[in-house]
């Protein structure tokens, strides 16, 4: 089995105590599935024993049957051989079924647990961990284990048993010949261990270069227009050739490692046989062992050597699975940062949104993203947050919706601290509409319904109708049941935003937190989005992270955030009069509008 492409990077390798902890925890997690696990273990023991019984029966057939000219004993051996073959087949099937049942149930549990753990984390967790890494945890890392379960675990267990049992059997047959085998056996073990180590290194280098080569390949395809425009095809082809050849070299190095190993294994096997024949024959002459024993030894040799090879190859698989589990446990162990207090209460229907002396730091030890923020938003008031990129206006908006909890200070709605509110009532009262209209796979209807999963079709339609955008979607060929496909590539950016607004309308919250889009929309939908937004904001407290002058001018009050602090608060006219930061900003805006 040279197919298992597992490898462990040095930095992922676990030390002994970590491995022990991981194993212990796996056993704990697997406890609910212990019944099927025991059954599969039992099956493994039976099939392994059957494999070993065969050469013994052959020996019996030769010694007691053939050489003693006893037909009954010969027939007995043949009959028993048939029986154990049938047994081995039956239990062999069962061991596949039960082992996979156990393994897949375990993996399913692991998938659900890890995903649930990820979902219970706050935004801060998602800021810290790259999206790609989180996806890899749920996919590649768990699949590594799946592969191990499908192929490896069975072999690993069976091989272990086989080596131990085979030695026991050999020893009872003839301790002298067992000593002979022990001359060659260590060579295989040492070679296997060295091979396992070297091939891991080679595998990692191949994997790295495959990645590099794919990168160069992708770059060459993506940049083909630039390359052709500058007539640089030949140079780029050479560049690719270099990376491609270096991958080839890496392959060859890895081939060399397996070449000597497999040659050595083959050699050792035959040499062991020659020793058994030579020394065994000598012992037969001296009547120390029977001829049948010698034959049984020759047949048993492969039951000894194959499992050692398999064990060494599987070792990498087991190690990488342990490394993967270690990372997954890391996610399972991270405490959810935004949780529900035990004595949580529902937020009042309406109220004042109050930010009290809030300071917030994304990561301990870094500069605060927001310092000492104070603001009281009246019920139904429209607030525009403005300021340079990175000044902290989005952070302020997110804190007001409890996507984060303040490091110092508090945010409250209707007098209730958001941290003491039930999560359900929080998401019902305060809804965040992010900048980009993010769509999930599914239909438009499903995407809107996402906001309140219990909503009926009529309620979804009514919500869209309230915003005046129901017609727009019903005009599509499949209406609201249009599949959005691949991140909504079927819908325009404007339409995606309309869906996002529809979601908010379905929740019908008291407070809206909007991150205004900076990207361009086509003029047609632009107007539609504007109109829908205006209807959505009607009668609700609204916090807008604003990028457009028109939006700012329509706000009741403007909050200017600069360098992590609220520097100015007031209406458009008031702030212009003050002639401070906002006035400068507004002037810059005006200018960029002018021809």
């Amino acid at each position: 089995m040279f197919g298992m492409g597992a490898g462990v990077a040095p930095e992922d390798q676990l030390d002994r105590s970590q491995t022990r902890r991981v194993l212990r925890r796996v056993l704990r997690m697997a406890y609910p599935f212990r019944k099927t696990a025991y059954v599969s273990l039992g099956c493994v023991v039976v099939t392994t024993a059957a494999t070993l019984a065969a050469p013994i029966l052959v020996r019996h057939g030769i010694d007691a049957g053939i050489r003693a000219n006893d037909v009954y004993e010969l027939n007995l051996s043949v009959g028993l051989y048939l029986v154990i073959t049938a047994l081995a087949y039956g239990f062999g099937r069962l061991q596949y079924v039960f082992l996979n049942r156990t393994g897949e149930a375990f993996l399913r549990e692991l998938r659900l647990k890890v995903f649930a753990a990820m979902q219970s984390q706050s935004m801060a967790f998602y800021d810290r961990n790259k999206a790609g890494v989180l996806v890899a945890r749920m996919t590649a890392d768990i699949e590594t284990m799946g592969e191990l379960i499908q192929w490896g675990l069975l072999q690993f267990l069976a091989s272990g048993f086989l080596v131990v049992l085979a030695f026991a059997v050999l020893f009872t047959l003839s301790w002298e010949l067992t000593l002979v085998v022990l001359i060659v056996f260590p060579v295989i073990v040492i070679a296997s261990v060295k091979f396992q180590r070297d091939s891991n290194v080679a595998y990692l280098s191949v994997r790295e270069r495959v990645g590099q080569n794919l990168g160069t390949l992708q770059e060459g395809i993506a940049a083909v227009r630039v390359i052709q425009a500058y007539a640089q095809e030949d140079h780029q082809i050479k560049r690719f050739q270099r990376s491609n050849r270096s991958l080839f070299d890496s392959h060859v190095r890895s081939i060399r490692i397996s070449t000597w190993y497999f040659g050595l294994v083959e050699f050792s096997g035959v040499v062991a046989a020659s020793l058994v024949v030579g020394i065994g024959g000598w012992l037969v002459h001296r009547d120390a062992v029977s001829l049948g024993t010698v034959v049984a030894f020759i047949l048993l040799l492969s039951s000894l050597f194959d499992p050692v090879q398999q064990l060494s190859q599987l070792y990498n698989g087991v190690q990488s699975a342990a490394a993967a589990l270690h990372k997954l446990f890391g996610i399972l162990d991270s405490e959810p940062e935004i949780g529900e207090a035990p004595d949580a209460v529902d937020l009042p229907r309406r109220g004042v949104l109050e930010v009290n002396g809030v300071t917030f730091t994304y990561q301990a030890g870094t500069h605060p993203a927001l310092k000492q923020a104070e603001i009281v938003v009246r019920d139904g008031e429209r607030i525009a947050l403005v300021g340079p990129t990175g000044a902290g206006k989005s952070t302020l908006a997110k804190l007001m919706a409890r996507l984060y909890d303040p490091s110092i200070g508090s945010v409250s709605y209707g007098g209730t601290d958001l941290r003491r509110a039930t999560l359900a009532s929080l998401r019902e009262r305060i809804v965040v509409v992010p900048q980009e209209g993010f769509l999930f796979n599914g239909t438009i209807r499903e995407n809107v319904r996402l906001a309140r999963i219990t909503a009926s079709d009529e309620e979804v339609e009514a919500a869209l109708a309230r915003l005046g955008i129901l017609d727009h979607f019903e005009r599509l060929p499949d209406g609201l049941d249009t599949e959005v496909r691949e991140r909504g590539s079927r819908l325009s950016a404007g339409e995606r935003q309309l869906v996002a607004l529809g979601r908010a309308a379905l929740v019908d919250p008291a407070v809206l937190v909007l991150d205004e889009a900076t990207s361009n929309l086509d003029p047609g939908t632009e107007a539609e989005v504007e109109a829908a937004l205006e209807r959505l904001m009607q009668g609700r407290t609204t916090i807008v992270v604003a990028h457009r002058l028109t939006t700012v001018q329509r706000a009741d009050r403007i909050v200017v955030v600069d360098k992590a602090q609220i520097v100015e608060v007031g209406s458009h006219a008031e702030l212009l009069e003050r002639n401070g930061k906002y006035a400068a900003l507004a002037r810059a805006w005006e200018k960029s509008h002018a021809l």
Binding site: A88, F262, G263, R503
Partner: protein, 627 residues
């Protein structure tokens, strides 16, 4: 189809034709592999020779064991000599196993490597229209996963050949030893082959189904993670969790299905040889008791039978691998057999030499017609003559064909009617390399390679001296910021390196065009990705580069347009107006409309912030939660 819709003959004929076509395709694919393998024939022949010798050594071992038992042990013969013979055979099989393995794997990797280079080189030379239609991922899998299928097949060729030799040799030896026992012992073995073939063809779709479900789960995770703002904002964690549970259940279901297939076949494949062994013990044992054969033969039979297990399994696998490789080869062949639609002419003409005395760089578009689709023309008789050294700004609404003109000049596409000349020579009569070396373009979306800044600038002349690179960077106004990068000109940039701001990227691109020193410079909307407040920096760079060189500027901001000597307004695929900015603003209403539309876009796309694009912080910037 007219007439009877269910005409069986016609349907059969159509089906036959499709099959015929598929077969022809497959043959082309195999032919491609054959040609590639011929280039490595020496190593492959050596590999096969080693394989056959290996078979001989391997087959000899049980024979020697038999003689050792019969003559050495049973008859008290020269036991030591036989053991030594076995050991020698051991040395031989060890060496030959190693050689066979090394050659098989090395050569298969070499085939893969060569084919990949051919695909890459071919892709590089394929016309742009081809790339417009094909997806990067598709082309990538031609050069990666498809070639992997081919490699897995090629590696099996020498191994399979020696396996076949082994099969034949063992069958012959066993038949010669005792043909009756041979028939009984070998009877169960063909089933191993049948079973492994069945297994391969059954497990393949099951494995694909598992992968498919895994991909679906990955997409749920992916959307939950990248859409986390929506999930958290609306508190819809449960919805995503339910979706994930469905996918996890699906994976479990299809995995168990695959396990079911494995459980049905694998133990059977493992145990079928035992039936042969039982036959040998039972029937053979009786024959030994009756004195019809020796006990050494019996043991040899045993050993030979176990020896056949792997070859039979491999040959079974080989069929499945061959089918997959054939499909992959067809796809690879499809790419390689696509002819580039835009090619250098057989006998290219030369551009008149550039001397200080004569001015070069005259560009003429003569009633140019062109459309990406046959039924939708973008250019409908575009006429423009640009004098050497003159700079012209192309202005027009989205989709008016400004960028198309640039692409036609570079011969990314060929005009459907009319012609384009540079210094009097039709671009189609020029060698592609010469044409493109003489037209330098700065595209709207700058592509930076994963390479050093220096190599990105020296892109058109990889051997250019540092002084030339620096001069170009200075002219493009890039020298100062490059010096401030961590490793100066050696800083790695691109997707995997240091990320530059939009303005910095454009300046690198302009420097790239300067190094090329073209007769005609094209700036295709080179400033549109740049913050208006930063635009003046690029504009200065552009002004320097344009002086004394024929330049076509595609632009929509007044400041950039003003750099050109002449403005051409493009509307409806033809030249709608020509003149100076001031004149056009007064005389052309369309011109005013176009500029106003662009201005509105610009104003709305710029965030209120004064700091513009993330500047040099880029990839090392703080977590996305910042703002």
């Amino acid at each position: 189809m007219t007439g009877t819709p269910l005409d069986p003959d016609a349907a059969a004929a159509a089906k036959g034709e499709a099959e015929e076509q598929a077969r022809a395709q497959r043959n082309l694919g195999w032919h491609l592999l054959w040609k590639t393998l011929l280039e490595q024939k020496r190593a492959l022949i050596l590999g096969v020779a080693i394989g056959v010798t290996w078979t001989a050594a391997k087959v000899a071992v049980p024979q020697l064991t038999k003689h050792a038992i019969d003559r050495g042990i049973e008859q008290n013969g020269p036991l030591l000599a036989w053991s030594v013979f076995i050991a020698i055979a051991g040395v031989a099989t060890g060496l030959l196993t190693a050689g066979r393995r090394y050659l098989a794997f090395r050569e298969s990797r070499w085939t893969e490597t060569l084919l990949r280079e051919r695909i890459y080189a071919h892709i590089q030379r394929l016309h742009v229209a081809y790339h417009d239609k094909s997806q990067t991922g598709q082309l990538m899998s031609r050069a990666s996963s498809d070639l992997q299928q081919v490699q897995q097949f090629v590696v099996m060729i020498p191994i399979t050949l020696s396996n076949v030799a082994q099969l034949v040799a063992v069958t012959v030896i066993l038949s010669l030893t005792d043909w009756r026992l041979a028939i009984v012992a070998l009877a169960p073995l063909p089933f191993i082959n049948v079973a492994s073939r069945r297994f391969s063809s059954r497990i393949h779709p099951a494995v694909l189904a598992v992968q498919n479900e895994q991909a679906q789960l990955a997409s749920v995770v992916e959307e939950s993670v990248s859409g986390v703002r929506v999930v958290k904002g609306l508190g819809t964690e449960q919805v995503q969790f339910d979706k994930l549970r469905k996918e996890a259940d699906d994976i479990q279901r299809v995995s168990l299905k695959a396990a079911g297939i494995r459980s049905r076949f694998l133990p059977a494949i493992d145990l079928l040889p035992s039936l042969g062994l039982i036959a040998v013990l039972g029937y053979g044992g009786h024959r030994v008791i009756n004195g019809d054969m020796s006990i050494g033969d019996l043991v040899a039979f045993n050993v030979y039978l176990t020896m056949l297990v792997w070859p039979l399994r491999n040959i079974g696998m080989m069929v499945a691998l061959g089918q997959r490789a054939a499909a992959a080869l067809v796809r690879v062949h499809e790419v390689l057999s696509t002819e580039p639609a835009v090619k250098s002419p057989e006998k290219p003409r030369q551009l008149p030499p550039r001397t200080s005395a004569t001015q070069t760089g005259a560009v003429r578009f003569e009633s140019v017609h062109f459309g990406y689709d046959v039924d939708r023309e973008i250019l409908r008789g575009f006429d423009l003559a640009i004098a050497p050294g003159e700079s012209v700004a192309l202005v027009g609404a989205t989709g008016s064909g400004k960028s198309t003109i640039v692409r036609l000049l570079l011969r990314f596409y060929d005009v459907t009617n009319g012609r384009i000349t540079i210094d009097g020579v039709d671009v189609r009569r020029l060698d592609l390399g010469e044409l493109r070396r003489n037209v330098g373009v700065v595209f709207e979306d700058t592509f930076l390679f994963n390479d050093s800044v220096r190599n990105n600038i020296a892109f058109s002349k990889p051997d250019a001296e540092q002084s030339i690179v620096e001069r170009a960077a200075r002219l493009a106004g890039a020298h100062d910021f490059i010096n401030q990068l961590p490793d100066g000109y050696d800083t790695q940039i691109g997707e995997r390196g240091y990320s530059l701001s939009g303005g910095q990227r454009q300046r690198v691109a302009i420097a790239r065009a300067i190094v090329a020193d073209p007769r005609v410079l094209v700036l295709d909307d080179a400033t549109s990705a740049v913050d208006p407040s930063k635009e003046h920096e690029i504009r200065d760079a552009m002004r320097t580069v344009m002086s004394g060189r024929t330049t076509i500027v595609v632009a929509h901001r007044p400041g950039t347009i003003a750099l050109a000597d002449r403005i051409v307004l493009l509307d409806g695929g033809v030249v709608a107006a020509v003149g100076q900015h001031r004149d056009l603003i007064e005389s052309s209403e369309r011109y005013r409309e176009v500029l106003a539309a662009w201005a509105v876009r610009d104003a709305e796309s710029d965030a209120a912030d004064g700091s513009g694009i993330a500047e040099t912080r880029g990839s090392i910037a703080a977590p996305t939660g910042g703002d």
